[in-house]
């Protein structure tokens, strides 16, 4: 009778396991299919509930689904990973530390998934950072790299505190090319300067300092943001255009600011309710994915090779070098970047800035010269 039961039940249980496997893949697929404005949320919700009941041994399967996922899908998947891991820890059971560490070390995986795996790995094994971070200075995950750089900065600072200036200078100089976040870069640069080194932060970040400028065009009542002036249709550095106060020609301008800030009030002249265009040519030896990152106190539009890659109709809410980011593809050879910078008609002192800065970098934030 037992044999009969086994004969009947084995195919059934094997079939259920197969269905279960198919179910996980199907559920991950449902989550990866979520779209804008809540589309696919109902299916994703059901899938997330089932996936959240998985054992922790399946965590890396969920993490692997981050690869190529949209930001919406990544947050759904985070919800699943967090639910599984949090429940496992709360119940006093062990997380799969070895599998998580292998996932963290696999640089082909999504950087944000690797960082999430790293966070949970540290909960399971707080010493794991001693194994992972020394080799992570060039990690494509900027969050893991940040921890690795921070660890090395503190080590170099200890050398400095121990009056080992030559060793400290060498350590900081070796570290700088790996640093990506501005606070860390500036922290290293401030240590290097008294030690006789002058880091080139313009090159480090990839700020563009040489531009051709055209303006002012009209932005009365902020209408210039939507208006299409000739530079948006075709860039012709020899052309003359009708501007807000007369004829406008392209003029060359090189900023001396290390972070590439272009003060349009000085470069073009003080105008309120005005639009300026800045164009730069950027040579890439080969095709590559990159990011254009810009900062401005003014409303901006950015084009790469004629394609609109970023827009923001917002005025005087601060400026930061990485305020705006656009993922782009540089073509081999010459690339043309165009930025439109719109000034409103504000009367307050803090509304007088007409300024921008722009850099080209790899996806981690490392400057491309």
């Amino acid at each position: 009778m037992k044999t009969l039961h086994a004969l009947i039940l084995f195919p059934l249980s094997a079939g259920c396991a197969g269905l279960r496997e198919t179910g996980v893949a199907s559920d991950l697929s449902a989550i990866r299919s979520v779209g804008r404005e809540g589309s696919g949320n109902a299916e994703a919700s059901d899938a997330a509930r089932r996936l959240s009941s998985l054992e922790a041994s399946r965590l890396t399967e969920v993490l692997a689904a981050f690869d190529g996922a949209t930001p919406e899908a990544r947050n759904w998947l985070r919800g699943v990973v967090e639910a599984i891991a949090d429940r496992t820890v709360t119940e006093g059971r062990e997380l799969p530390a070895k599998a998580l560490e292998a996932f963290v070390l696999d640089r082909s995986r999504d950087g944000k998934a690797r960082r999430l795996a790293y966070d949970w790995l540290l909960r399971a094994d707080p010493r794991a950072c001693d194994r992972i971070l020394p080799g992570a200075l060039d990690d494509p995950s900027v969050e893991i790299r940040r921890d690795a750089v921070d660890r090395e900065i503190r080590a170099a600072e200890e050398l400095l505190a121990g009056e080992q200036a030559d060793e400290a200078r060498a350590a900081f100089a070796r570290l700088l090319p790996f640093a990506r976040d501005r606070d860390q870069v500036e922290r290293i640069a401030k240590k290097l300067e008294p030690l006789g080194e002058t880091p080139n932060l313009t090159r480090h970040f990839g700020f563009i300092r040489t531009w051709r400028l055209a303006g002012p065009f009209d932005n009365t009542a902020k209408k210039g943001y939507a208006a299409v002036y000739p530079p948006e249709e075709r860039i012709d550095f020899e052309a003359e255009h009708d501007g807000k106060t007369g004829k406008v020609r392209w003029v060359e301008h090189e900023t001396q600011d290390a972070y590439g800030k272009v003060d349009l009030n000085k470069a073009i002249g003080k105008h309120m309710g005005a639009v300026a265009y800045a164009a730069a040519e950027f040579d890439s030896p080969h095709y590559r994915v990159a990011e254009i990152r810009a900062g401005s106190s003014n409303a901006v539009k950015i084009w790469l090779n004629g394609e609109l890659v970023f827009t923001r109709d917002e005025y005087h809410h601060g400026m930061d070098p990485d305020q705006y980011r656009a993922a782009v593809e540089l073509r081999s050879g010459r690339n043309t970047i165009l930025i439109k910078v719109c000034q409103n008609e504000g009367k307050e002192e803090w509304e007088q800035d007409w300024i921008f800065q722009l850099r080209v970098c790899d996806p981690t934030g490392g400057g491309i010269s």
């Binding site: 979520v34 804008r36 404005e37 809540g38 949320n41 109902a42 994703a44 919700s45 997330a48 509930r49 959240s52 930001p71 919406e72 990544r74 947050n75 759904w76 985070r78 919800g79 699943v80 967090e82 639910a83 949090d86 709360t90 944000k112 999430l116 966070d119 969050e143 940040r146 976040d181 606070d183 409303a299 827009t311 923001r312 109709d313 917002e314 005025y315 809410h317 601060g318 930061d320 305020q323 705006y324």
Partner: protein
């Protein structure tokens, strides 16, 4: 809309206001969102602590993983709270604590999909979460919106910054969404995009959305529950009432309102902060809203006003609390506390609880003469308004969730 239907809705609004109905889906001892069960900052509980300090009334303090200007909410024995952290403030946290012990029940961490630049005073965990009776909603200043069940299971998610690409407030978005029956209502006003959206609770899809005048705006809406729930949407140019489930515009009152402090309702009136505090009697059947009184003696600051037992209170930027009668707006008394205040005052058991930005606490009892002011010191930055639930007053700082209760075995 027919005149008859409009009149029915107006009547429902008046009934809801008169009865003090805001949400039928929460218990009276819950604090389910921005400014509590009636969205007026007032708890109906008794037996609350007479002072907020670390020695006598602190029940526990729980560590938080990041900053937050969002207020704690308390529902069904759990306290929910949001926080943000990271070098670029890109990590978004949603946490649940056991209300009695302060033990962390669960935490979920997500990534920001919208921009994180903001004024240094604020952060991405600025809007207060909300509970609609079934679901917890957590909106962040990055315009990431999450819905959970009480156990932390993600029910749905919207990246509103990707749905509406121009949504951006680089000073720092902070308007709190409020629950509507079976859903959520949010004002999403920025310079580059502005709209109000009602979200369907079960699916997260838009029930409706309505464009608004562009401009940064931080005040929160109010939803009046009842036969026909009504959304009251403040803006710099006035107040717009809409049917909460359909978005149909019912009426508009034009006048300048403050962009930061939020209005409160009470006694059939909405009290709207601005250069003046305006007491607007909400329309009865077939009538228009009527300004009962307005006074510049209750000028708005960051803190929103409070209405309690026939009196209106406002805390100004100098740290002075002013009390006026709700009948005519006449100022009755003023008391100098120590500012500045970002947190709005809350009240319960007849007492008023205020916490300034340095973490100094003030408990006023306006029922007795002279008015008593009990003081305490938390030693941490506090920008979020307190919450009151089940005998406890909750305060969140940049680093901790504090729970204060009357001392055990002592008369409260």
């Amino acid at each position: 809309m027919s005149a008859g239907a409009l009149n029915r809705i107006r009547k429902a609004v008046w009934t809801a206001l008169a009865l003090g109905l805001v949400s039928a889906a929460v218990r009276s001892d819950d604090w389910p969102g921005w400014r509590g069960p009636r969205q007026d900052g007032v708890s109906l509980e008794e037996g609350l602590p007479a002072r907020l300090n670390l020695k006598e009334t602190l029940r526990y303090k729980a560590e938080l993983p990041g900053r937050g200007l969002s207020c704690p909410i308390a529902v069904g024995g759990r306290v929910f709270i949001t926080a943000s952290s990271g070098w670029r403030d890109e990590r978004l946290h949603v946490l649940a604590f056991d209300a009695r012990s302060g033990r962390k029940l669960w935490e979920r961490r997500f990534e920001a999909t919208g921009g994180t630049q903001c004024h240094e005073k604020t952060c991405m965990a600025a809007p207060t979460p909300a509970w609609d009776g079934e679901r917890l909603y957590a909106l962040f200043a990055t315009f990431d919106l999450f819905a959970f069940d009480g156990a932390g299971q993600l029910l749905w998610y919207r990246s509103l910054a990707r749905d509406y690409r121009e949504l951006s407030n680089q000073v720092g978005f902070a308007s709190s969404p409020v629950p509507i029956r079976g859903g959520l209502l949010a004002i999403l006003d920025t310079d580059s995009e502005a709209l109000a959206i009602a979200f369907d609770g079960p699916s997260g899809r838009n029930l409706w959305s309505a464009p608004r005048a562009r401009g940064i705006f931080w005040a929160s809406p109010i939803v009046l529950d009842g036969e026909a729930p009504v959304a009251l949407l403040p803006s710099p140019k006035g107040l717009n009432a809409r049917a909460a489930r359909t978005g149909e515009s019912l009426w508009t009152w034009e006048g300048g309102l403050d962009a930061i402090a939020s209005p409160v309702t009470g006694e059939g009136t909405i009290y709207m902060p601005g250069g003046e505090l305006v007491a607007l009697e909400l329309p009865k059947s077939g009538t228009d809203p009527v300004v009962r009184w307005k006074t510049n003696r209750l000028r708005a600051s960051t803190a929103s006003p409070l209405v309690l037992d026939g009196k209106a209170y406002a805390v100004n930027s100098a740290g002075v609390i002013t009390c006026a009668g709700t009948g005519n707006g006449e100022v009755l008394w003023q008391e100098r506390l120590k500012g500045p205040f970002s947190a709005s005052p809350v009240a319960g058991g007849g007492r008023i609880y205020c916490v300034n930005e340095e973490g100094l606490t003030f408990v006023l009892d306006p029922r007795v003469e002279p008015r008593t002011v009990e003081k305490g010191e938390l030693g941490e930055t506090v920008l979020a308004s307190p919450a009151i639930s089940n005998g406890l007053v909750y305060v969140r700082s940049d680093r901790h969730l504090f729970a204060f209760g009357a001392p055990e075995g002592h008369a409260r």
